[in-house]
Symmetry: C2
């Protein structure tokens, strides 16, 4: 089964475009877990997954939050990935890239070693750096197009022949989509840009949209601008707003309520 088939099935099954970001953070996870368990981060992720698995289409693991724990972080990452139900999409968000020879190693680590369904890729090095990821035809590579942070404007909005750079990147993504396995990352904090990018990408290319929730992206605008005509092919990520909804012992119950509520809010506008 390829990525889009897997995505389409789980979107239908859970009636959800929601992706939950599992960004573990020592300062934010409930304190009682450290007393209860020798593997509090794994415990935390597993409880969040148990609570939210019926309301999501995907989980996204940002590699930075795992790498910061060194070797131990790698174990937490592996254990968490293996715990995610097999019909839910796993996105490894590492925003990696390098020249072709080296990009191949990153693609291998993420798709083969860690068994990701999808990854995020930085486009700055151009086509030959992206191709090794696209050789994994049943997977999906979400290429950074317009990121959600304020300084995204520094380079991504520079005018190239009167068009902002992110539009040029979006056109390249469309051009590189020969095997139907390209995606784009576009921040929810820029709904107008999201709409333009959806227009360039057409109906078939999925967009991973972070920035809803703690970062302030508006759900209605995001859904209307980011989905295709069928209200699909958008994966809308929220991390902190769901997993850190509460720090007390009922944190996973609160995460469940949040996940269901954001899923339903998204569906209202599809």
């Amino acid at each position: 089964m390829n990525f889009k088939e897997k995505l389409t099935r789980i979107v239908k099954k859970n009636n959800s475009l929601l992706c939950v970001g599992l960004d573990i953070d020592k300062e934010k996870i409930p304190g009682h877990l450290f007393k209860m368990s020798t593997t509090p981060y794994v415990e935390f992720n597993e409880m969040i997954i148990d609570a939210t698995a019926n309301f999501v289409c995907a989980y996204k693991l940002n590699m930075a939050f795992y790498e910061v724990f060194g070797k131990q972080g790698f174990e937490i990452l592996e254990k968490t990935i293996s715990y995610i139900p097999k019909d839910i999409i796993v996105i490894l968000d590492g925003k990696r890239n390098d020249i072709g020879n080296t990009a191949k190693m990153y693609a291998k680590s993420l798709f083969e070693g860690l068994n990701a369904d999808a990854v995020t890729v930085n486009p700055y090095l151009g086509k030959d750096s992206v191709l090794p990821f696209l050789e994994y035809r049943n997977k999906c590579s979400f290429i950074l197009c317009r990121t959600s942070n304020p300084s995204a404007v520094d380079f991504q909005n520079l005018a190239v022949s009167n068009n902002p750079l992110y539009e040029i990147v979006a056109r390249k993504i469309k051009e590189w989509d020969n095997f139907g396995n390209c995606g784009a990352v576009v921040g929810a904090t820029y709904p107008d840009e999201l709409k333009v990018i959806r227009g360039i990408l057409g109906e078939e290319i999925p967009i991973l949209i972070p920035g809803v929730g703690a970062q302030g992206g508006d759900v209605e605008k995001t859904v209307k601008a980011g989905t295709n005509k069928d209200g699909e092919m958008a994966i809308i990520n929220s991390s902190r707003g769901i997993i850190y909804a509460s720090k007390d012992e009922a944190f996973s119950e609160k995460a469940k309520i949040q996940a269901e509520s954001i899923r339903d809010e998204i569906n209202k506008y599809r």
Copy 2:
């Protein structure tokens, strides 16, 4: 001691601008090491370091080649870093970046967890994604400016108000260098661009220059275009051409000969 002081000392001590890239590769390291040792990659790196340490100013470890070995790769990375003599610069080449909150985690992993002297950073997300790296004032962040691969032209050469994007990035690097801890990555395969970028960066900003050797960059042009007026502030990397000079039992001796020879060739043009 800050990065530039450390760099200046080792450049003087070893009379070298050469950086050796320790990119471990199962297909390329000498076969007898797998029979001889249970930790062949660590063994390989240690022997290369022993052989070349008098001829280099820096070692660069490209993270992709370690990540591909999973958890074990992390151990090899740690052991290799700890084996590098303390007066030689350690560059962790991960080309990482993410939005500010997350970039902070990458900076912490690399500078604190792994104790790098310098890292490589991708600029696509703009200033707020670079600042968490620059908060480490005694370290150096080499920001990708003009990469060495053919597809570098896809985005980096796009004209923004008649100037290619890499020039805009170079100007931003100059602007962000408030603490004297910015560097730039510019491929040796583009000596004309390297010259323009050195002009924009001025005399004080170090340039990390990969692409000499296996990738085909010309040493004379690289040195003339990349160094400052004192023939310094360039770190010229060669990986495969040195460490895989031979696959037989005398591989480290061959690597030594190659390193000394490239160092001397670089010095001829400083």
